[in-house]
């Protein structure tokens, strides 16, 4: 076995890197893959709460790097999937506590035993970003359909190309199909045209993402979540499957309508 190391990054904060990392990790674990998710956002850790593992942290990434514990001891096993692990970031240190070399070594130690290592990069283009991309075999560049987020994504694409880690694959998150349709939101075609990199996922805006993360679970576990399905599609594409980009098809399927009807009738 030789794990693929995938880094999720964006430049701009708040576009959904942590949510995407958690959802992709769970989606892959659901497909019986062995997965380690690493929170590289030292000082501002959050992947633990999004995955619902915040109460189990004993050791963290910096403890491993500084030799206070074995790698294995800092790996928190997921509640649902026994082959999914989280390595949390340290909360009381800063990005300089880890170097790009440390990250490369850590990932090399994981490669033999796992299928996927997913790294949640911090926002920005400084040390934390450098740490996160250093071990990557593939980089997912996240953006939202906003001028500011796309601009930052372009900057990131330039930096990863300069680092010979490029070109990266694009994920457009929080798309509102109705706004795109009426011409008030950048479309996937607009964004791909401007950034000139390949798309690997389009994730629609979906309340279920927040509802799921409120409970420390991933939206991919909710079969009715459109965003969850979009993350499953990204996971399948990462595995090399050819999945059509129909995530924004806002017409509900037959079963969705029945479910909705059932819920509306039952709940109110």
């Amino acid at each position: 076995m030789s794990a693929k190391v995938i880094t999720v990054t964006s430049g701009k904060g708040g576009v959904g890197k942590t949510t995407a990392t958690a959802n992709l990790a769970v989606a892959l674990a659901q497909m019986n893959e062995k997965v380690v998710a690493i929170d590289a956002d030292i000082g501002l850790r959050n992947l633990d709460v999004v995955m619902g593992l915040e109460n189990r942290i004993v050791y963290d990434l910096v403890d491993v790097v500084e030799g206070r514990c074995k790698l294995r001891q800092a790996m928190i096993r997921d509640k649902r999937f026994p082959e999914l692990f989280l390595i949390p970031a340290a909360q009381t240190r800063d990005k300089t506590a880890v170097s790009p070399k440390d990250m490369v070594k850590l990932c090399d130690d994981l490669r033999a035993e796992y299928d996927w290592v997913l790294i949640d990069s911090p926002a920005g283009i400084e040390r934390g970003f450098r740490n996160a991309i250093a071990p990557a075999d593939m980089i997912l560049v996240m953006t939202n359909p906003e001028v500011s987020a796309v601009r930052d994504a372009d900057r990131i694409i330039g930096l990863i190309e300069a680092d010979e880690k490029g070109p990266g694959l694009l994920v457009i998150n929080r798309v509102k199909p109705a706004m795109v349709k009426r011409g008030d939101m950048l479309s996937q075609e607009d964004i791909v045209d401007v950034l000139a990199i390949d798309l690997i996922g389009i994730v629609p805006e979906d309340e279920n993402v927040l509802i799921a993360s409120n409970q420390g679970r991933a939206a991919v576990l909710d079969e009715r979540s459109k965003a969850g399905r979009a993350f499953v599609n990204i996971a399948l594409r990462l595995k090399g499957e050819d999945i059509p980009f129909d995530e924004l098809d806002d017409r509900d399927g037959f079963f969705d309508r029945i479910l909705k009807f059932g819920r509306a009738g039952g709940d109110s």
Partner: protein, 86 residues
């Protein structure tokens, strides 16, 4: 969406505006040259060229164009017409 908007006769859509702004800002970002610096470059360029040939300084245009592979500085420098030179 109305028929007129569909064929582009309605009010301009904000996504189109966003895309145009984005394209412009990325051209400058990718070249590492802000609009202000480009203006300064233009002024310097005019000074140098004027030493050698009479140009219509008010209509000089320096623009950056860019795609992922190639960035280009394009200068359009009209000469003073023979009439104006006399």
């Amino acid at each position: 969406m109305s028929f007129f908007e569909r064929v582009g006769l309605g009010k301009p859509q904000s996504a189109d505006h966003a895309k145009e702004r984005l394209k412009l800002v990325l051209i400058h970002d990718r070249a590492g040259l802000s609009p202000g610096k480009l203006e300064a470059l233009k002024d310097d360029l005019i000074k140098v060229i004027e030493k050698h040939i009479d140009i219509n300084t008010r209509e000089v245009e320096i623009t950056l164009t860019s795609d992922r592979d190639q960035q280009r500085l394009v200068a359009d420098i009209p000469l003073l017409s023979p009439k104006a030179r006399r």
